[in-house]
Symmetry: C2
Subunit: 282 residues, 2 copies
């Protein structure tokens, strides 16, 4: 497996692979890989001749007060896990390679970037859209695999790709969970043992919502109240949002109806912020 | 020569050319081609195996009060002139193909988009950067040829390409002028005969500036005063700006010094706005 650190070397490699008729898949990550990431790499492996994993903690998607500096990093481990999961290339640029002095270009997907995660984290999705566009232009993939855990991010990437005519197929793969239902996240390492235990309320509240909806409840207010009871039982520091959105538009809905609903939530335990979601098709 | 109107067909064609080892050049235009454009197509012809001319009047770079609706269009003539100048493909999408319903993604090159043309035409360069990115992603060129007449646009495109890692070489070709010095522009057709004659003051003021600077004048104030005298002699409706900028940064300078200066100006005659510029290397 190759490790490439410069954009121009990555482009030359991708160009030569494409010229040879090889199909390239990319899995963009911020590193500190867990089974969620490796499941994406394994998925990519089935879809392409060459799998590129990008490992880059992207500063432009963090606000100044957020956890950019302390975001967990372990490149040797990421390299090993990428290789074991089937990667052929790890693209691992330095910050100065991606954002050289005088950098001033950003990609913005407007309205959907300002709600939910975007409302709590202004400029977050501007950073995400920009870095994903840059990573696509550096790695020149035919297909890219993202995780459903970052549902709004996946929606925005799809929207950007369609709007800008980026010639790449976007795959969104299912959330991978611990045995007790907690969605895998690099940020889970921040949780204290007590917080870790209480954090299962995210999944449990989503499961309860699905039960209620499958049983015929179509009221956002009623389902949300049920969810809040479970979330509050975990004594979180705060619940940023419990949102019911239309899967096709990511706009909040007033009534649960076909073709379904995506329920997304963000909950804080101490200084750690966890997100989770579930797609319920009707 | 082929005419292609859909993004997906253009991408398939470009992809197949690239796979066959062909080098692709693109010349992005808003149509209504003149000798300035055809000189760009001829330049592109020398640099690539396949020359793509794009003809698209881009609505997102016009403000509501500007001349989008009345911007001159003549596609049959553009097709003929493109072919005569050596184009292999004309990419001519409809507005709905480039900006389908729900479109919401924009590319912004920040600070340099807010000055000069950007100060007079807010959101203009956001539209330019977005459409150029989209045209590059649709036509997949190895090289793109722009005209020096839109100097700030050329600067912004170069900056965007570098910042976003777009793997395309940008060529900026010299301004083509009428015998009396007026820079060719599709908007010249708006001028009345009297305005057309008076419009030569743009070129004459730039030539005078160059003479003064070559003679040793290093004062922006003094050179600009000389230029304004000539411009005012043409009785323009208004002078939007006469700017002295550093070629490497496009930031206004206080003193003329090596490696040189780019002098850019925008002048209105009636409702027609003309721009011109000259690069003086020291």
């Amino acid at each position: 497996m190759k490790v490439i650190t410069s954009v121009s070397a990555m482009q030359a490699e991708a160009e030569s692979l494409r010229r040879a008729g090889k199909r390239i898949a990319v899995v963009p990550t911020m590193g500190y890989l867990h089974r969620g990431h490796t499941s994406l790499i394994e998925d990519a492996r089935k879809r392409a001749d060459v799998v590129v994993v990008t490992v880059f903690v992207n500063p432009t998607q963090f606000a100044p007060h957020e956890d950019y500096a302390r975001y967990p990093r372990d490149f040797d481990r990421d390299r090993r896990l990428s290789e074991e999961a089937g990667a052929d290339i790890v693209f691992h640029p330095e910050v100065g390679e991606m954002y050289p002095e005088g950098y001033q270009t950003f990609v913005e997907v407007s309205s959907v970037s300002e709600i939910l995660e975007g409302a709590v984290r202004p400029a977050h999705f501007r950073g995400v859209a920009t870095v994903v566009a840059k990573l696509f232009l550096a790695t020149k993939p035919h297909v890219a695999v993202f995780g459903q855990k970052d549902a709004q991010q996946a929606f925005i990437v799809r929207r950007m790709v369609r709007d800008l005519n980026i010639d790449v197929e976007i795959i969104v793969a299912p959330i991978v969970r611990e045995d007790d239902g907690l969605a895998l996240s690099s940020r889970n390492v921040y949780l204290t043992p007590s917080e870790r235990q209480r954090a299962t309320v995210l999944f449990r509240s989503l499961r309860r919502a699905e039960e209620r909806i499958r049983a015929g409840d179509r009221s956002v207010g009623s389902v949300r109240r049920e969810m809040m009871k479970i979330l509050q039982s975990g004594e979180p520091t705060g619940v940023d949002y419990v949102a019911f959105v239309a899967p096709a538009t990511f706009q909040e809905i007033q009534k649960i109806e076909p073709p379904g609903v995506l329920i997304a939530l963000a909950v804080r335990f101490g200084t750690t912020r966890l997100i989770d979601n579930t797609l319920i098709q009707l």
